[in-house]
Symmetry: C2
Subunit: 345 residues, 2 copies
DNA sequence: ATTAGCACTCGATTGTGATGAGTGCTAACA
DNA sequence: TGTTAGCACTCATCACAATCGAGTGCTAAT
């Protein structure tokens, strides 16, 4: 059987209606929805076909129909095909002073959740493969050094280490120069044994400190790469959708949103190389996270400056307003990009 | 009427039973609970009295009794009176490397939530009234300075600012010395016009930079004091308690846990000067947060080093295991203190 | 090919009675 | 005088039946 134009119209009508109400939709409703262009009986016939083809489902014999995962998939694919060019204007971007990336991300998640009425999720950037831009050692106490590490893209990490030996200001200055001249522009991976031994040699009596510093830098960056920061917001929005807010499911879903390690799957999934738009739509069972099998999840990759990438995600009911979410995500990514470019300037 | 010993015993029995089951408890249950020391009929009489006195409530005519807020209050006060001296050993503290305070706090909240099976909340330290320990300016780009601010207690803040003028390394060094020699040991409040104008004078051509730096420092500290960081964990634990997990309430409660500004009330409340233990117990309507009127909330202040204070909180059903929670909080506070002292060493 | 009409299905809602845990009260008892 | 046994009463809860109505599938007419 073929999916002719009328079937498509009806399918879309079913999906749109269901998105609004969350209730199974019957033939008469659709008939009215299309201005009685066809009678309910006709619609019934078509619906029967659509069900046979797997696009819609009947929860029980005498209920209306609801879209199946396949139905949603069809709908979404249609939207995705639509031209990408309408990058609408968006509200004034609210992160004038990008002081700390983290707080921006949090705000962003909140904004997104409020805007869409779904749960939002945003992952901090992945640090590995990032270049070192600058290292600064300072003494904060007699036996304590502060290490400030600045990565490409102005991501900053601090660590405080205890040092056994005393180092005077001049030595510290020299160490700083040594570190920066040797390490600038290298990625963490590129700091190999050769580089290290050369630095140690140059450091003379304070080779131990060099070791300490390098270990600490490596550790900070690695630790951060491992337990990736993921911020969520608007988790309670799911209570707005009865089909998700049954206690058992809601509890699981909310629990999952608290567990970063589970969310990682979503974030990583977006790396699909075939997908050049950077946008992924998971419908129902397609979602790699168990607790979200009754939801749809949309993720989008963002990129700030050179190679600093992260992921934004929206989690909502299967009947989420795909059009709106996709649009919002697209504009947001553009905005984010622009904001950062501006900051970089 | 007086609250004699028997009444107290029965009241406690009712509360303990109710904490276990979450169901209203009847006279026979209590009779068995006290090894039939009194018959159910006697218990009934006493319960009738207790109800009249307002310590317990009958949800409906032919149900058992449940503790009222007043009942809980009595119970908790009893526990609080018990001697404070049993600081039990606790599991190995898991924050060997206190790299970033923030991540420690998050872990702590998670630990606490897991341990108690209630929702946990922890506020980051309040920065104001904190002394400046160290300031470091570094150039990261031609027109960008990195300002690292270290406060007493080794709390670190970074900011990047754009500067119009070019500053060479030597000038930067001088500025650093200038900043540190003038500002060390001062609180934010103490940096007044006099200090500022003196610094500007000394800075000569780069007075503008001094201004910029000071603004930025002030802003960072203020911004952080305003939207105080509050981390929550184990929010979904509330689904373990049927009396809270009705959809309407659960949604509100979880929503509230996402709104830092509402949680502030809890955190601030613990500042009650009369309360020298630093521990606050809110039962039911006593809670300053609307959505938690069906819960009990316990907050405890912690202190790290000099004047860096924050608050830990537990949110659970009114029938929460007060004894356990109080004990856990007390030990935790001790541990936290010890861990930080050790770090400081 | 479309549509009107009708019998049918089945979840949701409402109503009813049985069940049982728990109470209050009274009278008997120590 | 305090305690207890006994009994009538209350009321949430559960299972079951009756009813309702939205929505269907099928057939026959257009």
């Amino acid at each position: 059987m073929e999916l002719d134009e009328r079937k498509v119209t009806i399918l879309k009508a079913i999906i749109r209606n269901y998105m609004d109400t969350g209730e199974p939709v019957g033939s008469r409703t659709i008939s009215k929805y299309v201005d009685n262009k066809w009678s309910s009986a006709t619609i019934r016939n078509e619906m029967s076909d659509l069900e046979e083809m797997g696009y819609i489902i009947q929860p029980h014999t005498s209920a209306g129909r609801i879209p199946s995962d396949k139905g949603y998939r069809f709908y979404v694919d249609q939207i995705l095909q639509e031209k990408n060019n309408e990058v609408s204007e968006m509200q004034e971007l609210m992160f004038r002073k990008v002081d700390r990336l983290e707080s921006v991300l949090k705000k962003l998640a909140k904004l997104l959740a409020n805007d869409t009425n779904y749960a939002a999720l945003i992952s901090g950037p992945k640090y590995h493969q990032n270049k070192l831009k600058f290292i600064q050692l300072s003494r904060v106490d007699r036996d304590k050094l502060l290490i400030v590490t600045v990565l490409e893209g102005n991501l900053i990490k601090n660590t405080i280490v205890n040092v056994a030996e005393e180092i005077d200001e001049e030595e510290l200055l020299n160490l700083n120069i040594l570190l920066n001249s040797n390490l600038n522009g290298l990625t963490v991976e590129e700091i190999n044994l050769e580089v290290i031994s050369r630095m140690k040699q140059q450091a003379g009596p304070h080779a131990g400190v060099v070791d300490l510093v390098l270990n600490q830098v490596a550790e900070v960056i690695r630790a951060d790469a491992e337990n990736l920061q993921i911020y969520t917001s608007g988790a309670t929005n799911i209570f707005k959708y009865p089909e998700l807010s049954d206690n058992q499911k809601a509890s699981e879903l909310l629990g999952t949103l608290e567990h970063t390690e589970l969310l990682q799957k979503l974030v990583n999934g977006a790396d699909d190389p075939e997908n050049n738009t950077g946008i992924q739509v998971y419908i129902g069972e397609e979602t790699p996270v168990q607790a979200m099998h009754d939801c749809s999840v949309i993720t989008a990759n963002y990129e700030l400056g050179e190679g600093i990438r992260g992921t934004i995600g929206i989690i909502g009911p299967k009947r989420m307003d795909y059009e709106k979410v996709l649009k919002t995500l697209r504009t947001l990514m553009t905005q984010l990009d622009a904001a950062f470019k501006k900051e970089e300037r």
